[in-house]
Each structure stands twice: as structure tokens, then as C-alpha cells.
Assembly symmetry: C2
Homo-oligomer: 230 residues x 2
Amino acid sequence: MPMNAPQFAVDAIVFDAYGTLFDVHSVSATADKLLPGRGAALSQVWRTKQLEYTWLQSLMGAVARKDFAAVTEQALDYALAMLDVPLAAAGRRELCAAYLSLAPFGEVPAALATLAPRPRWILSNGTLAMLEPLVHNSGLRDHLDGILSVDAAGIYKPSPRVYQLALDTLHLPESRIGFVSSNCWDAIGAKAFGFTTFWINRAGAPVDRHGPAPDWIIATLSELPALLAA
Amino acid sequence: MPMNAPQFAVDAIVFDAYGTLFDVHSVSATADKLLPGRGAALSQVWRTKQLEYTWLQSLMGAVARKDFAAVTEQALDYALAMLDVPLAAAGRRELCAAYLSLAPFGEVPAALATLAPRPRWILSNGTLAMLEPLVHNSGLRDHLDGILSVDAAGIYKPSPRVYQLALDTLHLPESRIGFVSSNCWDAIGAKAFGFTTFWINRAGAPVDRHGPAPDWIIATLSELPALLAA
């Protein structure tokens, strides 16, 4: 941490799940076994479409909205069509099942432990039926205090109705909630809502320009504990 | 047209502008002059982020929303940062100005002429201050009956509030409005709203999966007139 890094005063920490605590591209190995040489490409298109579909369905309104399990299947079907790779139903099921046991990024368990005793929550696009096995399978259950799904708001991030779920649960002022995401657009949405936000820029990407910049940018979750006021 | 192509009964036709009547990637030539060898890559990232930012700002709500001219500049700044290419202010202005004189796709003028006397309107994410010079500069003014901007709805496509603008203007039942877009997500949004929709699939892409499929898929606008009932 540079000497001039500020100290942020937050009383609870809320994490995005997919891409932030869990590596969505850990499905690549399963994909590559099923579709040799195409796993990484499939994973990339799959993830891109998955996010795009959450935004589009949210804008189209309740009539269009499917939950994240269904959106994940829709996006997989698009990716398979785009790469023009046939996949039997069993393979498709195996890929969707891989979303329930994504690998956490290596530094995550130790960093979460260090952040205690502050309450540590997940606020995710995923359904509870996806998130609960994921947290269990990854061994992170002991390091998290609770899970919030956007389903309770009926819309996806970055709608303010989603970030409101954390406020309603934690009963803290917006700025005393630290929000952490590897998705820059999610960190920007949370910042617009009023949270103190940290963008984990794992890929060295430029900051997005469509809203207020995150408060601080880190390369891995390991950098977060030292940034928080005691 | 295959013998079994249906005939669609519509009384007016509403077109998306960017990517549908006008080739957004016609900025590549200007970009390539300013940034030799990187024009196509810049144009691709620029367009991707431009759309992404319209969806994200729409979801974040009125506090975040900028008009399409501003979004186009935000997306250009991101694309320049991502490609890590420096560009002086004059070059940046030249690229943004190129959006006011995008080239129409080659078949567009003749196809629009054939579609008369049905009312032919544009419904676009662009501002009127962008769309009016674009229509003028491209010589399409005589082939169009009017222009609607999403700005009147205060949100971007595919919000149903945007498609409602066409309904309020044309005073027709939803299904009697033919909606044409090269952006599959836009055709799907219009279909969910109730329009009869045609997707111009110029790139041979798979159909998107997040909502109701367009009524018909064509490769260029030239195919449209023969699909419409007299």
C-alpha cells in the first residue's frame, strides 16, 4: 500500500460474488474438456452475454425478467451458437452445474478472515439456490455473515433497488458500507448509490466512464484490510 | 425471398438508426487516419461501450443518465484508454464529429424509397441534435417522415417507455407498426413491446436468447419491402 493511501471508515463490507470472490472463468477447464481448445473462448462469450442479458431484461421490465440461473442458461446457449459448437444436453448441464462450484480467487479466504469482525455479506445477481451451494462448496461459509440476492428486488445490478437491499439489512448510513466488486460497472453503480466502493481491477482495465469513479482501486482483495480504519 | 416467407401487415415502419440505417463503423476510416492501424479496433470497443453505458445509466436512473452525445464521448474515452493510444483534443473532436456524417448502408436509400407511402420514422438512442444533421448529411431526409429520440422518454432502449414514443406518435395498434433494427437486442425489446419486428442480421450472428425472437430475420434492408402486405 502506498504511504498516502487513505483510510476508509466502514462498519460492514458487502461483496459482489461472481468475478469478485469467485472466478467465473474457472468454468473454462470444464468447458475445455467438453469442447477441446474452445473452453476459454466459450467462457468469455458466456460471461459477456450473461451480464448483457441481466441489463437488457432489467430494462425490458418484469415481463422479460428471468432469474440468474435461467439467464446463465440463455447466455450459454448463445455462446454455443456463436462458437458453432454442438454440445449434448449432458454437457450443457455439466457446464451449468460448474457455476455452483466456481473456484474462489486464491487470496479470498485469508482476506475475508482478516476483515472480521466487521460483518461481511454477499450481494449478488445470483439466486440463493445458486449462491448457497457456491459458498458451501468453496469453503467460504465461515468467513461470511450472510447472502443477499437481487431476486428480493426483482431487478439486476446496477439498479439502486438492488443496493438498497444491503442498506435495509445492515441499517447503516450508505457511506459506512464498503462495497467491493471486480466489475467496475458494479462498483460505479454502488458509488452512485452512496456506498464507499472498492474496485478490484484484476485485469488492469481502464476505469469505466459512465458514472462516479470508485473510491479506490486495488489489484487483489488482499489490499483491502489495510485500507480500512480500525 | 423464399416462397414460404410470410406477408406482414404493417401500416408504418420505424427504424433504428445507428447500425441499422447508418454504419457506425464508418468512423473507422477517420479513426485509422488518426491512429494508424488501430481504427477498426477503436471503433469496435467504442461501439460496445457506447451501448453498455446506455444500459447501465438507464438502470442507475435519472441521476446517472447523460444524453447520447455525452455517452458517445464517455465510450470514446474508455476505448482510447483501453487501446492505450494518446489522442489530442482535436482528434477526439474529429471522431465525435464523424458520428454526424456516418455513411448509410448502400441499399438503404432505394429500400426506403420502395417502402413509401407507408410512414417511415426513426426511433433512436441519439439526440435530435445528432440525428438531424446525420439524416441531412446522408441524403435520407426525403425518404423519412420523422425522427423520434429516446430523450423524450428520458431512458434508453430497450425500455418499453422508448417504444411507447412511436405508439404515441403513430396512433396505430402495436402489431401494425413494423420495427426494424440491426441490433438484435433492440428487435427483441420491440417485440416484447408488441411491434412486428425485423432483425437485419448483417453479421450472421446468432439470435439473442433473452426475450421473444424477432418475427423475421433479413440480411439487408432490401429484403423488407417484399415481406410487407400491400
